[in-house]
């Protein structure tokens, strides 16, 4: 069965695609700021954010407490959610393309767990590496995530040379459980307040502020650049390394680049928001269904789509059982796991028929 899709990349269609996603992103952000325990009308949101962005004085008719809620609490939270979504969407697309694996994402590959372990070590032991300052947290997360990824791939290769879809996911699950257990052990040993830590592990973007936005933003930018520079190679690599090699792709270089770029994104996302699963799995599939497989456009488009998704999920997480907030990772898992199942079934069926 053919999926509904717009496949031909004529210039005008591309323009429409990017325009539509950007518009959707703006709308989601505005909606995310507007909804909450104190509802703020959309129009006011636009007024306040617009004024602040362009350094105009906020109209005097607006209450300063409202301005504070928007600028100090809601806006940074929504932006953080957006950036985390962007990072996860991007890294998921990169992993899936590189490993030719429709089930890959930072969470199923175990990278998130690796990053989380790193983050827990930094957060709960209060480590500050010299020179890095606040960036100790994302940098350590990225490094532990990257090492986990290398470990998973190396292990999967030991099991089965050609890195089949199922093997690599199994290796990821194995690593995930192991690292998760280590993380729990560390937490138990420190004897800190468990509820807070578990809440963090399940993923959340609440009460982080602009500080955390600054932590993730540079890594997102760097990751995007690195991946975009390997977009054509990702296209080639999704036909297999040998095939990519035969058309002149420097396989080693670009595989390392993509793995590194995706680890940057995953690690920094985990550092600021904990482990949020399945975003990197679902988003690339949606994006491919809508826009096709060419990574030159798939990467930026799924990044923005990830942003939209995350902002909306965060909105849902804090409103669905208000005043209590649901950890965002719980919600993404509830949405994501069934989709994972569907993708898996369809993948296996397709493989059997071809």
């Amino acid at each position: 069965m053919q999926e509904p899709s717009i496949r031909t990349y004529t210039k005008s269609k591309l323009f429409i695609s990017y325009g539509a996603v950007l518009l959707l992103l703006c709308f989601a952000v505005a909606l995310g700021i507007s909804v909450g325990s104190i509802p703020i009308p959309l129009f006011r949101v636009i007024q306040i954010v617009g004024a602040k962005l362009f350094h105009h004085p906020v109209p005097s008719s607006i209450d300063t407490s409202m301005v504070n809620i928007v600028m100090a609490i809601r806006f940074p939270r929504v932006v953080l959610a957006m950036l985390v979504g962007c990072a996860l969407g991007l890294s998921g697309t990169a992993f899936q393309g590189l490993l030719k694996n429709p089930l890959a994402d930072p969470y199923t590959l175990g990278v998130s767990s690796g990053s989380a372990l790193g983050a827990v070590i930094v957060l709960f032991f209060g480590i500050h590496l010299p020179l890095l300052g606040n960036f100790t947290l994302p940098v350590v997360s990225i490094i532990t995530g990257f090492l986990t990824l290398i470990g998973v791939i190396y292990f999967a290769r030991l099991v089965q040379r050609n890195l089949s879809v199922e093997t690599i996911i199994l290796a990821g699950v194995l690593c995930s459980s192991f690292l998760g257990a280590i993380t729990s052990l560390l937490i138990a040993l420190t004897g800190d307040e468990l509820r807070q830590i578990i809440g963090w592990l399940l993923g959340s973007v609440s009460m982080r502020g602009w500080e955390y936005v600054q932590l993730i933003a540079p890594f997102l930018a760097a990751g995007l650049m690195i991946l975009l520079a390997s977009a054509r190679e990702l296209n080639a690599l999704s036909f297999g390394q040998q095939d990519a090699r035969s058309i002149g792709v420097d396989v080693k270089k670009h595989t390392s680049l993509v793995l590194f770029g995706a680890s940057l994104l995953t690690g920094s996302a985990v550092a600021v928001s904990g482990t949020i699963g399945f975003v990197g799995l679902v988003i690339p599939h949606m994006a491919r269904m809508i826009w096709g497989v060419d990574h030159r456009h798939l990467l930026p488009l799924s990044m923005m789509l990830g942003g939209v998704f995350m902002v909306l999920v965060d909105l849902l997480a804090r409103t669905i059982i208000a005043p209590t907030e649901l950890p965002i990772g719980v919600l993404t898992a509830i949405i994501g796991s069934p989709i994972f199942a569907v993708i898996f079934i369809r993948y296996r069926r397709k493989k059997v028929t071809t």
Binding site: Q96, N235, S238, Q242, D243, S246, I247, G248, V249, G292
Partner: protein, 487 residues
């Protein structure tokens, strides 16, 4: 173009190909053949730089392959893989565009107008432009193969490497693909190296064939020179037999299935005779060589029809008429050798011989009204050809070589001429002794089991038996005819 010198290599330190040396010239198709596990794919991988080798050297355009970067190499060599699968549905155009990868420049790798043009051209050339925007996963195996070929073409390579390109393709696509390659090789001076499973494709399309066995070169050269039955049999450990292609000066390799030696006894052949036809029916097939209207040339047949027709029989398409006639008599023309004669069938001479290990059944029908001295037949005016009149049927037990068939025919023909001389039959135009009549026919049918007979000339027991039997039957037929005319 490609120069392989003392190349050895394999996986995990194991040696799969061992000390290979050969070269491939520009503008030629080289086929690599050999049984499974003989190292074909390993060799191919080493030629395209995908697998490092243990020792030796591969020179591409006189430079070591290691001196090229991946991109430089991709501008010279394109590879058509056995199958390329992606988990995602790329469109055909996107796949073909991948072939332009080695030509993109700069960090952003922008495509130029020339890139677009090459993509369109190569899609057109392989006939896939009609599904340019379709997902590659929706295509059939043959269509997919053509898309991959288009991708390789878009690379504008000087060398194309193919790994079993005709796998998964039906017969028509196989031929189309190979014809396409051949055109391309001739038109653009492309050099092709292909792993081929099908020995006949290799024979028909390759300028050079390399036969690999257990990692070593068994033979390399023109298909006609190296594809010998005995060599192939020992490499493939299978019963193969080499024939010649009917229309091309190339060998054809036929597979011979294992079979039980069938009991084939000439005495099981039965004759059904009516004034209109004499039909020999055999429970087994015989290999035949004949000049008959139906089933002429080399054939296998189990039914042999000698049909009487009126001496004024004149049909434009005699073969078609005869086939229809056989059908209406419930005889399958495909398993039949069929001749016509105006002579009376009841005059036929027939003899069965069994001596000195030779078993023979010979039947002849004779009419001498058009007797001709072959050496002087040129003196005759061209005239409408009256229907054939001496038909000789020879059935024999034994495994005859092609040479033996020809000699059997010579022997029989000479014996026929001898018989006519014995009965003093003259060419009415020249007045000289006749050697036959104007439209004679002959069929030699052999059981092809038992003892091999390499020759059947008059020096051999078989030849002697044939000569004697033919002479006898023709004599009997003439006597019968004369007797009937007297009464």
């Amino acid at each position: 173009m490609i120069n392989v010198q003392q190349l050895s290599g394999g996986y995990d330190g194991k040696k799969i190909v061992d000390d290979l040396s050969f070269s491939v010239e520009k503008g030629e198709i080289t086929g690599i053949i050999g049984p499974n596990g003989s190292g074909k794919t390993t060799l191919m991988k080493m030629i395209n730089g995908a697998l490092p080798f243990q020792s030796g050297e591969v020179l591409i355009k006189d430079k070591p392959i290691s001196s090229y970067s991946a991109k430089e190499l991709a501008r010279i060599i394109a590879v058509l893989p056995q199958h390329a699968e992606s988990s995602f549905d790329f469109t055909v155009r996107e796949v073909v565009a991948l072939g332009r990868y080695p030509f993109y420049k700069g960090l952003l790798k922008h495509s130029t107008a020339r890139d677009e043009e090459m993509v369109e051209n190569s899609m057109k050339f392989t006939g896939v432009e009609e599904f340019a925007d379709k997902s590659i996963q929706l295509l059939s195996g043959g269509e997919r193969q053509r898309v991959l070929l288009a991708k390789a073409l878009a690379q504008e390579p000087e060398i194309l490497l193919l790994d079993e390109p005709t796998n998964h393709l039906d017969l028509a696509y196989q031929m189309k693909l190979m014809d396409l390659l051949k055109d391309w090789v001739e038109g653009c001076q492309l050099t092709v190296v292909a792993i081929l499973h099908d020995l006949n494709i290799a024979s028909l399309y390759c300028d050079q064939v390399l036969l690999l066995d257990e990692g070593k070169i068994q033979a390399i050269g023109k298909p006609g020179d190296i594809m010998e039955s005995r060599r192939l049999q020992s490499v493939y450990k299978t019963n193969l037999s080499r024939q010649e292609h009917p229309q091309k000066p190339k060998p054809l390799i036929a597979l011979v299935p294992r079979q039980q030696e069938e009991q084939k006894d000439l005495s099981d052949i039965v004759l059904e005779a009516t004034p209109e036809t004499m039909i020999f029916r055999s429970p087994f097939s015989l290999r035949t060589m004949s000049s008959a209207v139906i089933g002429g040339g080399y054939q296998w047949a189990d039914t042999f029809v000698n049909r009487h027709v009126d001496k004024n029989y004149n049909v434009d398409d005699a073969r078609k008429e005869f086939e229809d006639y056989l059908h209406s008599n419930s005889v399958n023309p495909n398993d039949t050798v069929g001749m016509m004669t105006a002579a009376r069938l009841q005059d036929a001479g027939m003899v069965s011989v069994e001596e000195k290990g030779i078993k023979l059944l010979v039947a002849s029908t004779v009419g001498t009204s058009n007797a001709v001295d072959a050496g002087r037949s040129w003196e005759r005016e061209d005239q409408p050809m009256p229907i054939g009149t001496i038909n000789i049927w020879i059935f024999m037990e034994g495994r005859l070589t092609d040479e033996a068939f020809v000699q059997a025919m010579m022997t029989a023909t000479e014996a026929k001429a001898g018989a006519l001389r014995d009965y003093d039959i003259k060419d009415p135009v020249t007045g000289t002794p006749a050697t036959g009549t104007s439209t004679d026919s002959i069929c030699i049918a052999a059981t092809q089991n038992g003892e091999e007979m390499r020759y059947a000339g008059t020096i051999t027991p078989a030849g002697k038996a044939i000569g004697k039997a033919v002479c006898q039957t023709i004599g009997t037929a003439i006597e019968n005819y004369r007797k009937r005319m007297q009464t």
